[in-house]
């Protein structure tokens, strides 16, 4: 991507984050970059084209996060991925806050997002199954219950930023991660809790 196009996308993403997805017009982006709308239109013919390119860029980052699945064969793997999700939410809050607007105005982008959320849920589910086979998660838990826990974890990732914004709070990575880990605690075995305290809680303290 050319340097100017890159600048336009960065400015558009910043404006989407600050003002919301639907409230941003080409004029706003041009003003922000101190260029004319005509110049902007030379690079992207309309807002649709900007949004589409921005989503491609975001899609690449999401794929990179998904590809970290099973980077290590223990609980650190999940913790690491949660950290990446947090960074993503911080960088692109509009991706999750403007859900309904995107669904109404850009159905094809909504489909892409649905695909990502579906993959995220499957990954959570499979990770729980894997930890169950390692006896880190209680063997008594059924696959239906695991699926529900994975679904809850997904919901937290999607709505965590909105929740914080409603309460006018600025969250921290540790809070975000904890709100997801807490979903798992009731199902962790003794060995699972030991692993959690040894590998994750101790690292948080160092941070």
């Amino acid at each position: 991507m050319s340097q100017t196009k890159d600048r336009i996308i960065k400015a558009a993403i910043n404006l989407f984050n600050d003002q919301g997805f639907v409230n941003v017009r080409l004029q706003n982006i041009a003003d922000n970059l101190k260029i004319s709308v005509g110049n902007l239109a030379y690079h992207f013919k309309n807002k649709e084209a900007i949004v589409s390119t921005a989503y491609d860029k975001i899609g690449e980052e999401l794929s990179a996060i998904l590809s970290t699945y099973r980077a290590s064969p223990d609980l650190r793997d999940l913790d690491h991925q949660l950290g990446l999700y947090y960074k993503f939410i911080e960088k692109y809050p509009f991706y999750f806050t403007d859900t309904l607007e995107v669904k109404r105005n850009h159905p094809h982008l909504h489909e892409e997002r649905k695909d990502f959320i579906r993959k995220m849920k499957i990954q959570f589910e499979k990770r729980l199954e894997y930890n169950k086979s390692r006896r880190i998660i209680n063997e008594g838990i059924t696959s239906g219950q695991l699926s529900q826990v994975a679904s809850n974890m997904c919901t937290i990732v999607i709505f965590w930023y909105s929740g914080q914004a409603i309460q006018n709070e600025t969250g921290k990575a540790a809070n975000f991660k904890n709100s997801i880990w807490i979903q798992l605690f009731p199902f962790l075995t003794k060995r699972g809790l030991e692993e959690y305290h040894m590998l994750i809680a101790s690292n948080d303290m160092i941070e």
Binding site: Y69, R70, P73, D115, R118, I122, E129, S133
Partner: protein, 117 residues
């Protein structure tokens, strides 16, 4: 190019990644015996291999065990600017290195246990 996979396919992929046997494991020192205990080189077939690289032709010799061809070592011997010289040198090198200069020690294709499917 974007490739979309359906839910079932993605689930299978994740299941596949969960298989413990496919994880990278630490190697063992025994694995390096291939290099340290080199008696097996006595019964190896020598295969010459000329490869064009950066405008030159590299001469490689491959030493493969006659009965267990997965046990092999490939070494670069020299390089030439002409393919004819490289092939000639490769032939001499092979005859020099091989135990049986007539080249009767050969690796059978079947010994690789290839699956033809």
């Amino acid at each position: 190019m974007k490739v979309y996979v359906d839910r079932r396919c993605y689930e299978k992929l994740m299941d596949f990644m969960n298989i413990q046997a496919l994880l990278d494991l630490k190697g063992d020192f025994v694995d390096l015996d291939l290099f340290y205990s080199d008696e097996w080189l006595l019964d190896s077939a020598v295969i010459d291999n000329v490869v064009e690289r950066n405008g030159n032709w590299d001469v490689f010799l491959v030493f493969a065990h006659v009965t267990d061809p997965m046990k092999l070592i490939k070494r670069k011997i020299t390089r030439f600017t002409s393919i004819k010289k490289a092939e000639l040198a490769a032939n001499y090198m092979r005859r020099l290195a091989a135990k049986d200069q007539r080249g009767t020690l050969k690796v059978r294709n079947a010994a690789f246990l290839n699956c033809n499917n």
